[in-house]
Symmetry: C2
Subunit: 304 residues, 2 copies
Amino acid sequence: MGKIEVTFLGTAAGIPTKKRAHPAIHLAYTLDKEVCYLFDCGEGTQRQMLFAGLNFMKIKKIFITHWHGDHYLGLPGLVETMGFEGRKEPLTIYTPEPERTKTLLSIGYFSPGFEILYRNVPAEGSKIEKLVETDYFEILSISVEHTVPAVCYALVEKDRVRIDKEKLKSLGLPEKDKIYRILKEEKEIVFKGKKIKLEDVSFVEKGKKIVYSGDTRICENLKKISQNADLLIQDCTYFDLNDFEQDYGHASVEEVMDFIEKVNVKKVILTHISRRYKNLKDLKEKIKKYPNLEIAKDFMRIIL
Amino acid sequence: MGKIEVTFLGTAAGIPTKKRAHPAIHLAYTLDKEVCYLFDCGEGTQRQMLFAGLNFMKIKKIFITHWHGDHYLGLPGLVETMGFEGRKEPLTIYTPEPERTKTLLSIGYFSPGFEILYRNVPAEGSKIEKLVETDYFEILSISVEHTVPAVCYALVEKDRVRIDKEKLKSLGLPEKDKIYRILKEEKEIVFKGKKIKLEDVSFVEKGKKIVYSGDTRICENLKKISQNADLLIQDCTYFDLNDFEQDYGHASVEEVMDFIEKVNVKKVILTHISRRYKNLKDLKEKIKKYPNLEIAKDFMRIIL
């Protein structure tokens, strides 16, 4: 179905490094036309987009996971640049505590010249929220467990009924768009006196699912939203819990490995990597028995 | 006297490019010990410092010229990183309208763990303000003409009285620290019955002066503070005024060339370069008859 292109613009944790910028993930969904979203927007995201060859004018919506600086400090600069570039189309910004977004965007002398819609994303309870619904996919959220109110986001592509052309042919029906349309709309068609039902000549193509954990410990809500994901982009600040004196509300690689044995996830990309891990050899060694686990890099691209 | 090292961390105007980050200038003054200041702090400054091999923990004071996003949006991230790194030393932040700094640093969930001192820099009138005075230099400011309240900063090294050892020797005085000290403190010394005055055996070494215009049109206040500067770091957003439909409160290269014929300035570095100028050949051609004019680049270093 749709082509989903995920670009990692920043894969650092709280302190950036020469190789890793602050968190931001660009997602382009293409079916008929391209729709671009941004998940988190750490400091420097607009320049990372330049380096990645991505166009900030195409971003329709921005989703922020929580109010720690590494996840939102690129937002005002990006909005200003959109304004300088003459954007007219409204921009929707989804965050927990949206009044903070308003304050953030009103500190300096600047008015964007386009409408900004501030949307609240609930950061408590265990309900999966539907934030966006298009013809082809939904954007969902659920609260997760961090040191401050935080959420996880998911893009869930809708399942689609596809006509099985071979079956159609075997029943003698011509391959015509009109026939496909009638079958899809009316669920059946009468052809040469014979009633043919949609389910007899079709199959369901399962939509894809991508989950971005944001900053969180492994928790029940994350499990709930991650089931059957094709791609889980997972906070993995700690390679070893013993490396940290304090619980900063993140997941360790051991916890992630344990987690993915309990949820059905096709591929997991570890991100939000602490600066202390300069040499990734040890981590790679640790995860080598999980071929579906990978470590994010800035500018890494995944196509689903 | 002191060694002054200026590092350009960002030389773009409102929209950054792959080659130019948002404005920030690092200044290290070394005499006995090193003192590091930052002038403006555009988005991405902390990572630019990493690339430049500069240590953000050494920054004692930060001076912001005005409240346009390209000049301040790197501040909260830098302050957070200083906090994560365990800074204990207070940090003084100088800005016009300092209440904006307080709001900016209080949007997310973060408390720095060190004291932040918010200092007001007057952005009206034509008085030169003395913001900082150390044994060796002063930091001055004056309001300038931009579209919003804005200031210009200057580091002015103090003149120093230096003993002329040759003259001392010719008068038969021994080269001893004690003699230098008495001469400097008491302005004269009696040696073998003969009175010797400080001015007879000393000379004045002129201190250096560096001016950073911030964003401004060429104006009287800029002229006032720039007289006799060794280095003027000058807003030059426009290479040609005809390139812009509107007056955004910046200087053009023609105006700068005209200006430096009226003020005595040893060297001028043009910065805050609009994204539209990708090819600098034309500008270089334009300024070639001014050998003391240069165009800034990110990571350029000047030692005075």
